[in-house]
Amino acid sequence: MNIIEIKNLSFSYREDVPALHHVNFTIKKGEWVSILGHNGSGKSTLTKLIIGLLKADEGEIYVDNVLLNEETVHEIRRKIGIVFQNPDNQFVGVTVEDDIAFGMENLNFERDEMLNRITEYSKKVEMFEYLKKEPHLLSGGQKQRVAIAGILAMDTDIIIFDEATAMLDPKGRESIMKYIRDLYHEGKTIITITHDMKEAVNSDKIIILKDGEVLEIGETNTVLNNKEVLNKSNLELLLPLKLLYKLDEAKIENKKVKEILWQLSLNK
């Protein structure tokens, strides 16, 4: 079933500059979709539109079959959790514990329930020992994990990672990607928004945005094989893929090597 439907979505910050133009796509429940695009392709605007922080000029957004409008915006926000790009600018609480509690406090959870969930989900992201720590003592990756815990505590099934690894060092990036994979295997619907193809290779579906429009939508394997589209997208190709394309160009037909290169693309 479709958990998110974007129909004919358009939005401009200023009159002459369309950030998004007639964007259409759907996301099924339990899918992991990567939205790829260069900086300025419009992907950052998408998240804000989906939860009603911005109002679209044109088009419709359906979340769990509910049309997004002024009356339903709060209901829809309860269904979607977002991990934003800047770990410092989304951490509200004075301590880790307070931050995980923030969303639940907004939703009027009972105190005992909140304390239980804080324990459970902080353990899940391996931040239990840090509950009383203040954010300035944490690394970027740790702060993002706290954000994940806070989202899980609200029982949201759809999680959007909006360039959540962009400001992290390689170690931090790896740890967040691991949590994303785990959450996907547990059945959550995951949307990762990124400009790094390495983060998209394990997702089910890839949507490529370019200059505010959808360049390509398709299953990951199919899109990764589509050399023309990838070249047009302005995204950096994965090394094994580059080799694969070179072999194709030189008309070298070694199946074993191609298979190995393909597997290498997916593993990274």
């Binding site: 260069h38 900086n39 300025g40 003592l137 690394s139 962009a166 060092d169 390689p170 170690k171 931090g172 400009h195 302005n234 995204l235 950096e236 090394l239 094994p240 580059k242 080799l243 070179k246 072999l247 030189a250 070298i252 070694n254 074993k256 090597v257 190995i260 290169l261 290498l264 990274k268």
Partner: protein, 286 residues
Amino acid sequence: MAIKFEQVNFLYPSFDNDHFSALTDINLDISEKGEFITLIGETGSGKSTLVQHMNALLRPTTGNVTIYGIKIEKNSNKDKKIKLNPLRQKVGLVFQFPEYQLFEETVLKDIIFGPKNFGVKEEEAIARAKEVIQHVGLSEEYLERSPFNLSGGEKKRVSIAGILAMEPDILVLDEPTSGLDPKGRDALLELFTNIHKELNKTVIIITHDMNIVYKYASRVLVMHQSRLVFDGTPNQLFMKENIAKWNLDLPDIIEITNQLEQKLKLKFDTLPHNVDQLFELMKGVL
């Protein structure tokens, strides 16, 4: 020897801070000419602390750093005879986040801010700005714009331009390509290579990107837990050392080559430096 570290130890005056980057027993020589150095190491290993000693922003707790003949020790800032400020024109340091630096109404004013602080006359500074803005890949029309209305990548380039306009002898950059898309990244690295080759200046880059290290560096410094654990060439680093012990990754090209060798059960003659070289090697065996 432009910069010399002798038995440098550094401890941050602590507020009970867990992020306690320090320096332990650092001995290091950096010459003014001809080096393209990459400084790598995991977060917290002391890289930023190290480079902040290179332009006397920080002073060692014990030991000394000699920069262009001026010996700097713990209390050198209190010594009236030692002028630390001029050193910052000679060793230009670009910080990782342009937001910490951009503050003027226009890009032009921001770029000439540095040179003017070091005594460059306004007309000369403006002329430098016009030149330098193009070096970083932006057109002159950017000079009239507000630095706050630029994209992340553009801000980055303006901040680099601001230091280049000071015409430093040594250029130190903290993660200059983070946040840039591949095209922007390559353009900037081209620029730094040019500065290095054509003007024969030393360029030092802090980075997490092993691919940059492998492709551009002639010398690699590795920091691990406040110590300098490696000082040599990239080839020496990647071929000989088990860099996993320092929590570092291999450059993609070497990683792929290793994987191919493993899975195809063969060994290539040489270690490729880029995709094309690897492709040639592969053609050879297929």
